[in-house]
C-alpha cells in the first residue's frame, strides 16, 4: 500500500528534517509512526497525503509514485484525521459531513447517520453548531469525516486525543473494525497504549531517522531483561525475588508457601519510546 525509499525532505536549504527514510506498509496493516515532537512525523504524513511536495527519494501509494499521481482519484481513496478537529464551527455535524462528503462520488459514501451512530454521537447535538460541542464530540465528527468516504488508506493523527477513556476504547474498536474491512491505517500518535493495542508494526522516528521498526511485541522482547519478579509468602512473611526466565523452566527455584504474583520485567512501548528517541512523552 505504502512504499517509501530513501525519503528526504528539507524546509529551505539548511533545514533537512527527513534523512533517508525507508519503510513499507502492507495492505490492511495498521502501521504506527511514533516519535517525539519535531521528529519528522507530521512532515512524513504530509508527504504521504500529498500536501507537501518537493521531497527526495521515492514514495509510492497504491502502487504509483506519489509525485506522478496527484489526481482526484488519489484523494478519493484516502481519509485523513488531523490532530485537531478541523470543522466549520458555524455548521452542524450533519452539515459539515454533508459538505465534506459532497466532493466524493455518491456511490462510495457511507450513510452520515450510520457513521455518527457508530461513533456514539449524541443525537440531540446533530443539528446544533459545532461551536457548541465538546472536544470529544468534535473529534467524533472529525473521525466521521475521515471515515465517511470509505477510504482504502486511513491516516490518523492522534485519534484518541481529547477523548475520555470510554471514547478512546470506542475509537480503538472502530480502527480495529476498519482493519477487518481491509483498510490500511497509518497511525501517528504519542499514545503508546493506542500503538501497543492497535499496531501490527511500529516505527520510531527521531531527528528525521527511523531508529527502530518492528512489531510492538518483538521490540519489547528484543529489549526485555528476560527476568521475572516473583512475590511470595514464606513462613508467614511476604518476600520478593527477581530471577532469570530460564531458571523458571524447572519450576520456582526457591522455597515458598504461596506464590502471590509473577511480573515479567518486559519493557513497555513507552520504555521503548524513551530508549529509542532519547526523550520522554510529553
Amino acid at each position: 500500500m505504502i512504499e517509501v525509499k530513501n525519503l528526504t525532505f528539507s524546509y529551505g536549504k539548511d533545514k533537512q528534517v527527513l534523512h533517508s527514510l525507508n519503510f513499507v506498509v502492507g495492505d490492511g496493516e495498521i502501521f504506527g509512526f511514533l516519535g517525539p515532537n519535531g521528529s519528522g512525523k507530521s512532515t512524513t504524513q504530509k508527504i504521504l497525503t500529498g500536501i507537501l511536495k518537493g521531497h527526495g527519494g521515492t514514495v509510492s501509494l497504491f502502487g504509483q509514485d506519489i509525485s506522478m499521481v496527484h489526481t482526484q482519484d488519489f484523494f478519493q481513496k484516502i481519509g485523513v484525521l488531523f490532530e485537531f478537529p478541523y470543522l466549520y464551527a458555524n455548521l452542524s455535524a450533519i452539515d459539515n459531513l454533508k459538505y465534506f462528503s459532497s466532493f466524493y462520488p455518491a456511490k462510495q459514501l457511507r450513510d452520515i447517520g450510520e457513521v455518527l451512530e457508530e461513533l456514539e454521537f449524541k443525537s440531540d447535538f446533530l443539528k446544533k453548531p459545532v461551536s457548541s460541542y465538546s472536544k470529544g464530540m468534535r473529534q467524533r465528527v472529525s473521525m466521521a469525516r475521515a471515515l465517511i468516504s470509505n477510504p482504502q488508506l486511513l491516516f490518523l493523527d492522534e485519534p484518541t486525543s481529547g477523548l475520555d477513556p470510554t471514547g478512546a476504547v470506542l475509537f480503538r474498536k472502530i480502527i480495529e473494525e476498519e482493519r477487518r474491512k481491509g483498510t490500511t491505517v497509518f497511525l501517528t500518535t504519542h499514545n503508546m497504549l493506542d500503538a501497543d493495542l492497535l499496531c501490527d508494526r511500529v516505527a520510531f522516528i527521531t531527528n528525521g531517522n527511523i531508529v527502530a521498526l518492528d512489531t510492538p511485541k518483538r521490540l519489547k522482547e528484543q529489549n526485555s531483561k528476560r527476568r521475572v519478579v516473583v512475590s511470595y509468602l514464606y513462613q508467614g512473611r511476604r518476600e520478593e525475588k527477581t530471577i532469570e526466565i530460564p531458571e523458571l523452566e524447572a519450576g520456582i527455584p526457591f522455597l515458598h508457601d504461596e506464590i502471590l504474583s509473577i511480573h515479567s520485567e518486559e519493557p513497555t512501548l513507552e520504555d521503548m519510546f524513551i530508549q529509542y528517541t532519547g526523550r520522554g512523552l510529553s
Partner: protein, 331 residues
C-alpha cells in the same frame, strides 16, 4: 470540476450570509444612496464662481452682469484672497490675464473657460464642452464612482479577509488539501462570490443614483472596470490573509493599503494636489477607468487591459503559492 466549484461557491455564500456580509453591503448601499441624493448634491449645490474684472482702459463695453468690476489690481488680489473660488481677469495690458487664488490645472481651465465665456459674447468665445450631464447628474456619477471604488477597495477587501480568517482559524483550509478537488477551485470560488457580489452592488448603486436610462448607457463599461478592481482587491485580500497570522496584522496591512491606495488617488483625482508619479499608480489607472466609464468614456487602450490581466494573473499565482503554503502548515 464544475460540481466541486458549485459546492464551494454555495458554501462561500453561506459563510458570507452567516458573517452578515450581504447585510453590510445592503446597508452600505442604502447609506450611500441617501448620502448622494440628500447630502452630497445639496452640499455641492454651491454658487457659481464669482468673476472679477480689472479693466482700467475700459476695453470691454458689454460684459455679463455676473462680472464684478474692480478698480485696482490690489483690490482684485484682495477679493481673490477672500473668495478663493473666484476668478480674476486682469485686462490692464489689453489682453486678458486670468488670475486665480490657487488651483490645479484642470480646475483652472474650467474656471478660466467660464470667466472667458462671461467676458466675451458666445460668438467670440466657445467653451470646451466636456459632457452633456446636468450638474446634478455629474455629481451623482462622480460620487457613485467614488463610493463604488471605496466599497470594493475597503469593504470588499475586509469582507474576503473576514471570511478567510474564520476558515483559517477553524483549520478547514487544511482539510481541503486532502479532499478530491482541484485546489485552485477554492480560490476561484471565493473570487467568484466577491466578483458577483461587487457586480450586483455596482448595478444597484448605479441604478439607484444615476437613473435607469443613463445606467443602461454606461453600465457595460462600469461593470468591466468593477470586475477588474474586484478581482484585484479580492486577490490582495486573499493573499494578505494567507500571509498574515491574524486579523490584527491584517488591520495594519489594511491601514497601509488604505493610505497608499486610496488617499493619493482621491487627492489626485479630486483636489488640486498633483503628484508626478500618480500615473504609475496602478489603482489610479483603475479608478480613472471607472470614472471615465461613469462619464461615458470607456477605456479603449489595449495596454490597460493587458496590464490589468497580467496583474491579476501575477496576483493569482502569488495567492496560489501562499494558499498551498497555508495548507501545509502545522495545526
Amino acid at each position: 470540476m464544475w460540481k466541486s466549484f458549485c459546492i464551494l461557491f454555495k458554501k462561500d455564500c453561506q459563510m458570507m450570509i452567516a458573517g452578515k456580509f450581504f447585510l453590510v453591503a445592503v446597508g452600505s448601499l442604502l447609506i450611500y444612496t441617501l448620502f448622494i441624493n440628500f447630502g452630497y448634491i445639496n452640499f455641492m449645490n454651491m454658487q457659481l464662481y464669482n468673476v472679477y474684472l480689472y479693466d482700467p482702459q475700459g476695453t470691454q463695453q458689454e460684459v455679463s452682469e455676473r462680472i464684478c468690476p474692480v478698480s485696482s489690481l490690489e483690490e482684485l488680489e484682495t477679493v481673490l484672497l477672500a473668495d478663493t473660488n473666484g476668478v480674476g481677469i486682469d485686462l490692464s495690458s489689453g489682453t486678458p490675464n486670468i488670475i486665480l487664488y490657487y488651483g490645479s490645472k484642470k480646475v483652472d481651465k474650467h474656471r478660466a473657460d467660464y470667466a472667458s465665456l462671461l467676458l466675451y459674447s458666445s460668438d467670440k468665445y466657445t467653451a470646451q464642452i466636456v459632457g452633456t450631464n446636468t450638474t446634478k447628474l455629474k455629481q451623482q456619477k462622480e460620487m457613485s464612482c467614488e463610493l463604488l471604488f471605496i466599497e470594493i477597495v475597503a469593504v470588499g477587501f475586509l469582507g474576503i479577509a473576514s471570511v478567510l480568517f474564520k476558515e483559517k482559524q477553524m483549520g478547514v483550509i487544511r482539510v481541503h488539501a486532502v479532499l478530491p478537488l482541484k485546489k485552485s477551485l477554492f480560490i476561484l470560488s471565493k473570487l467568484a462570490v466577491f466578483l458577483v457580489s461587487d457586480l450586483v452592488f455596482a448595478v444597484l448603486l448605479t441604478l439607484l443614483n444615476v437613473g435607469f436610462f443613463d445606467t443602461i448607457h454606461i453600465l457595460p463599461a462600469v461593470l468591466v472596470q468593477t470586475a477588474i478592481l474586484s478581482l484585484i482587491m479580492a486577490l490582495m485580500g486573499f493573499g494578505c490573509t494567507m500571509l498574515l497570522n491574524d486579523f490584527k496584522q491584517f488591520s495594519l496591512a489594511y491601514l497601509i493599503i488604505a493610505l497608499f491606495v486610496a488617499t493619493p488617488i482621491f487627492l489626485s483625482a479630486n483636489t488640486s494636489i498633483k503628484m508626478a508619479w500618480i500615473d504609475w499608480h496602478p489603482f489610479y489607472q483603475v479608478y480613472m477607468g471607472l470614472k471615465n466609464a461613469y462619464f461615458g468614456v470607456p477605456v479603449t487602450s489595449p495596454v490597460y487591459y493587458i496590464c490589468s490581466a497580467c496583474g491579476i494573473a501575477v496576483l493569482f499565482v502569488i495567492v496560489q503559492t501562499a494558499f498551498h503554503k497555508e495548507m501545509g502548515k502545522e495545526g
